[in-house]
């Protein structure tokens, strides 16, 4: 049989083009990406010049204790077995103990990540709600002063350092005007009252039905989220503008005008509709960056988030915590990436 025979290829392609094939491939790619992430963190854990045994037993422990711990950690086994054990540990939520907090890393992550998640989610909502219309308006008025004003605002978002923005924000809106609360997630006399459900204070306060705590948490949250939102806004608005310019120069926009469609509908219905799919990718990416935890903002606002946690862990050579946080952040990236990929397929009729 000829090696060039197209028949087996086509049947394979046909098998993969149907729905189950798509789903299967999707799951496979996701799993492989995740495994890749674990391979990287495992590798990093091997090459850093930190002895995991010494990190646990200290450098004055006896040789017997050292050896026992060495075996207990499985470090005497072949590398591939170690990797297998590592994957199993991660999948069962066992990231080891954190040296600096003395708690299991998983517990720490469950405590710190919701704070970042809350701030990032608020931030991205602000970024999208303002950034997308700004980009659309800039494109619809390309070349005019409106476009210029929006461009300058966006440039600020790119060039002003986060910590500076945080400090100025605090000075103006907290110390000066008193419109928002200061650093931290909640005022001291409200602290620890709300039962933890999601770990996000605003949500938990609402679930608890405590409006006062909700408002207080919100007034702590609003400034750092707005600053984060401002940074993603700059990127989102710039990308929206360029996507829109591209669409507005298309023939079908002229078709819509020929039909007598109002300019507003031409812009929002005809030109904006097709770019939703591209925007999903941009927004997903911005969201992922915010979820990584902005260290600067978290430090300025004393926000007990993942960026703060990761930085502390790094400075104290707390490898379990570093790798655990890295896996978490990596997973967030994968989830967002795969989700936007899936939405893309669902929303774009051409890729169905």
């Amino acid at each position: 049989m000829s090696a060039l025979s197209p028949v087996p290829d086509r049947s394979l392609a046909a098998r993969f083009s149907d729905r189950t094939g798509t789903v299967l491939r999707f799951v496979l790619v996701t799993a492989m990406t995740f495994l890749g992430l674990l391979a990287i963190t495992f590798f990093i854990g091997r090459i850093v010049p930190i002895d995991p045994v010494v990190a646990i037993v200290g450098d004055r422990a006896s040789q017997e204790v050292y050896d026992a711990t060495f075996r207990q950690l499985g470090l005497d086994k072949p590398l591939i077995t170690q990797f297998y054990l590592y994957v199993r540990d991660v999948l069962t939520g066992n990231f080891g103990m954190s040296l600096s907090t003395g708690r299991p890393v998983v517990e720490d992550l469950a405590r710190f990540f919701p704070a970042t998640f809350e701030m990032a989610t608020f931030g991205i909502i602000i970024g999208v709600v303002l950034g997308v219309p700004m980009g659309v308006i800039a494109a619809a008025n390309a070349g005019t002063w409106i476009d210029q004003v929006i461009r300058v605002l966006g440039l600020l978002g790119y060039s002003v350092p986060a910590f500076w923005m945080g400090l100025v924000g605090l000075a103006v809106f907290y110390a000066g005007l008193g419109w928002v609360a200061g650093p931290g997630r909640i005022d001291i006399f409200y602290d620890g009252i709300t039962p933890v459900v999601t770990g996000m204070l605003t949500v938990d306060a609402l679930l608890d039905g405590d409006v006062d705590i909700f408002l207080n948490a919100l007034s702590h949250l609003i400034l750092p989220s707005a600053i984060l939102g401002f940074f993603s806004l700059a990127y989102i608005a710039r990308m929206t503008r360029s996507f829109m310019l591209d669409q507005l120069s298309q023939e079908y926009v002229i078709t819509a005008r020929v039909k007598g469609v109002s300019e507003r509908a031409v812009i929002w219905k005809h030109a904006f509709y097709p770019i939703r799919v591209q925007l999903i990718t941009v927004i997903g990416l911005s969201y992922a960056v915010l979820l990584e935890g902005s260290v600067m903002i978290e430090i300025v606002f004393s926000w007990p988030g993942i960026g703060n946690y990761l930085t502390t862990a790094l400075l104290s050579a707390d490898m379990n915590a570093v790798l655990g946080a890295t896996i978490l952040i990596g997973t967030v990236f994968i989830v967002i990436n795969r989700t936007s990929d899936m939405l893309y397929r669902v929303l774009d009729p051409r890729s169905r």
């Binding site: 023939e251 002229i254 078709t255 007598g260 051409r350």
Partner: protein, 278 residues
């Protein structure tokens, strides 16, 4: 005789260029009744700009000036943007070159056709749907109930252009501008689409402006032909009297058309050296 449906006098279209403004349409005038007018000319001669100026579709930095642009007693150049929108589609409509680009890729065909009707008339949903189906039948699309649910990329070029025609004719306009409606299509369906346009125009008693670079084709489907060259109308002819053409540019165009009953080694090329002046 009553005033023609559309009167255009001295249309000028100017673009800013690196070395000062460039006039790409330099004083085009014509009248149009419920008849078929062809505009021919080579690429860049200003045909599309002329067509689009009627609907006031050109945006800054393009500058459009007319001494008169009157349609059915309205001075189009004086209308507000809102009044102009009521003319677009409903009274004067336009079919463009390539359905691949001129249909919205992420809206179903049915939605797009319905929209053309909906922006001008408040009608119950059912009636709109029924009229869309009827319209698709009129442009000879089989199984319209299936087609309304399709996206533009799921239909062929010829079918896409028929969808476009359906969309542009559904609000029953008085004038249709067809800007190279078949040059992006497969040769095998070109005649079908043109025959369809011809039939629809005749049936509704509309006026047609057919823009093309193909003199023969325009002569076949139109009553009258304007020949454009470098932003000017250099000649106006009755379609049956092309051989009476006086202008050297038109003669050149005619000479370049191959004849069935002759053998020529090389088709003559338009004489670029000649500066034609009107």
């Amino acid at each position: 005789m009553s005033a023609p449906l559309l009167q255009m006098r001295n249309l000028r279209v100017t673009f800013p260029g690196p070395r000062g403004p460039v006039q790409v349409v330099k004083g085009v005038s014509f009248d149009l009744g419920r008849e078929r007018l062809g505009i021919v000319g080579e690429s860049g001669s200003g045909k599309s700009m002329t067509g689009r100026s009627i609907l006031r579709l050109l945006k800054p930095p393009a500058k459009v000036e007319t001494d008169l642009l009157r349609f059915d007693g309205m001075d189009l150049d004086q209308l507000s943007e809102k009044q102009m929108r009521a003319v677009r589609g409903a009274r004067i409509s336009m079919v463009m070159q390539d359905p691949k680009f001129s249909l919205n890729p992420v809206m179903t065909i049915g939605t797009q056709i319905a929209e053309a009707l909906r922006v001008h008339e408040k009608l119950p949903r059912r009636e709109i749907e029924a009229r869309v189906i009827t319209m698709l039948e009129q442009v000879r699309i089989d199984d319209p109930r299936r087609v309304v649910k399709l996206y533009p990329h799921e239909v062929s070029g010829g079918m896409g252009q028929r969808v476009m025609i359906a969309m542009m004719l559904i609000p029953q306009p008085d004038i249709l501008i067809a800007d190279e409606p078949t040059s992006a299509l497969d040769v095998s369906v070109q005649a079908q689409v043109l025959d369809l346009i011809e039939a629809m125009i005749a049936k509704n008693g509309m006026g047609l402006i057919l823009i093309s670079h193909d003199l023969e084709l325009v002569a076949r489907y139109c009553d009258r032909v304007l020949v454009m060259h470098r932003g000017r109308v250099v000649e106006e002819l009755a379609a049956g009297r092309l051989h009476e053409a006086r202008h050297p540019y038109t003669k050149g165009l005619l000479a370049a058309v191959p004849q069935m009953d002759e053998r020529r080694a090389i088709l003559p090329v338009l004489d670029r050296a000649a500066e034609y002046e009107t």
